[in-house]
Amino acid sequence: MNCWDQILPRREYSPEEPDEFVASSIKSLKRRQVSKALDLGCGAGRHLAYMARQGVQVCGIDLSLTGIDMARRKLKEQGLEALLVKCDMKALPFINSLFDAVICTRTVYHQALKEIRETIIEIHRVSTTKALVAIDFLSKRTYSYGSGVEVEHNTFIEQDGPEKGVLHHFTDEKELKELFEAFRTVNIKLQEREVKGKLRSRWIVTAMV
């Protein structure tokens, strides 16, 4: 069993509304007539449903069968369709240059830096030349930076709570520029807000292949 099989059914991990950066990305994609989109780490499927409602052919992947099953039920309830595959984002089972959009929210940073790099190479491979990629990363300024045991530079394993045993990699702008150097245009934005006195800080990267 994957650890996310237990985490994803928790309400706070399966919100209904799309993340604001995904919603704004998809709006711009609609203008450019996106036909196929991939959601890496689709979880319970909120973004799959959102994109499918916009008329986009969607594909969702996850390591958690529980997440995939939740996504499948959500899509079915709404009369929507998606291709769902259990696979690893570092080894995508898709042909080259397939997707016009690749999104990944609250997921890619649950890996070590080497694995994040492999994931981004795979995203580049499966994206078309006009594709838009939208991914969020944890900032080193966020309140949870340093929580848990550091297993490599800026990468920690949580020791308590629902994400016990889960990796978190925290990054900065320099590292992000290096990770996305193969992309044509890269926009890196820091998004911060305070929730119950805690600073939540993340990077939003939108890149064109």
Binding site: C59, L63, L65, I68, R72, L83, L84, V85, K86, C87, D88, K90, A91, L92, P93, F94, I95, N96, L98, R125
Partner: protein, 90 residues
């Protein structure tokens, strides 16, 4: 199937073997003819994991269940597991 490639060697096209079908393929097998890796479709979901995330105790019972319909080459030479030899190294 036209968009799927082997997650390991990226070979395309892959072979599809359907074992049980309703509105969708319920159970089946996806095979990479190049490296002979096989990937189960269970409960309508293709499971296309790299070798290090595969679990022999979950995958071999699947192969055993459908052994009459699985190509002989996969039963004897498939990766990462076969019914005849157990785990197979790449």
């Amino acid at each position: 199937m036209e968009i799927l490639a082997c997650p390991i060697d990226k070979h395309h096209p892959l072979e599809l073997h359907v074992f049980e079908e309703k509105e969708e393929i319920v159970e089946g097998l996806i095979v990479c003819p190049k490296c002979l890796r096989w990937y189960p479709i269970r409960d309508e979901i293709p499971e296309m994991l790299p070798d290090n995330l595969r679990k022999e105790n979950e995958d071999l019972p699947f192969l055993k269940k459908w052994k009459e319909k699985v190509p002989e080459e996969i039963l004897s030479k498939g990766k990462p597991f076969t019914l005849k030899t157990g785990p197979k190294k790449s």
